[in-house]
């Protein structure tokens, strides 16, 4: 524990270029453990994870998502989905917190990743649902494209004083 972890938060950047090195099963497991350590409303854990490493499916997702072309090169995609039978009101928030944990764990493991939004865009939801075979009760929130980085970005915050209000708006 310690302040140094905050450097990992600053180091997490959207990485869209990858080497062809695959991600190990052990590291995929760590990413999922981190995601499932997120808080969830009433501890309902509405998250589901589809782990995709097959080239044919990665290509289909790349084709389906308007900003997903990096999936043609990525060795791994994880789709974070919500099971709406478990939690309707807070599922987007719970799954987003799990996603952020996953992105930070990727950074800590030396991986690079980028969050591609799916829900609430209904066209993207339908396309991803068809490719991954999701039931109607399960909604894909996003596609997370993951691999070993072939581009470098500087750590940063985007701290902006004008977005902070003290005591009252």
């Amino acid at each position: 524990m310690g302040r140094e972890f905050i450097q990992t938060i600053f180091a997490r950047r959207s990485i869209r270029k990858y080497t062809d090195r695959p991600v190990s099963k052990e590291d995929i497991r760590t990413l999922l453990e981190a995601a499932m350590a997120a808080p969830s409303a009433s501890n309902r854990k509405p998250w589901r994870f589809i782990v995709v490493t097959e080239r044919r499916t990665l290509d289909a997702l790349a084709e389906a998502h308007p900003y997903g072309k990096m999936l043609y090169e990525a060795p791994l995609c994880i789709s974070v989905c919500g099971d709406l039978t478990e939690m309707e009101q807070f599922w987007v928030q719970d799954c987003s917190a799990a996603t952020e944990n996953l992105l930070l764990a990727a950074t800590a493991l030396g991986l690079g990743a980028v969050w591609l939004g799916v829900y609430p865009n209904q066209e993207r939801v339908a396309a991803v649902r068809a490719i991954l075979g999701l039931p109607e009760t399960v909604t894909p929130l996003n596609l997370i494209s993951i691999g070993y980085p072939a581009e470098e970005k500087e750590p940063r915050t985007q701290y902006d004083e004008s977005r902070v209000h003290w005591e009252h708006w």
Copy 2:
């Protein structure tokens, strides 16, 4: 960067009991820097942060939120809000990622915190908006209650194999 930082993700637990030690301005600034390092759709950064340390306002929020009684003791509350004029489609996801960063940074600084859901519960949204003086275009996603922990919880994942699907549902 390194794997050991993943321990901070496991160490983040919902902490509802606090000592009376206040949180320094420097640490509040670090929490906000971490929050604003989150990814956001098209980099729109729709987040706004209301930082509350005044006892009268903390008490009003404690009174208004059905699960917010710990705010009667907490020295600090940060409300993460979305400015819907900046981004309507993805604001909940962006603000949730920022909130998770804030919670992890709190853990790294030795603080304890808990996420109290506000949006999309319209009664809670109206109550928090009135107390904090938020304009109609700004929606409170949550209240984050923060302080030095007066309870201990073990690090954990809630990893569950049944929530993982390989290649396809």
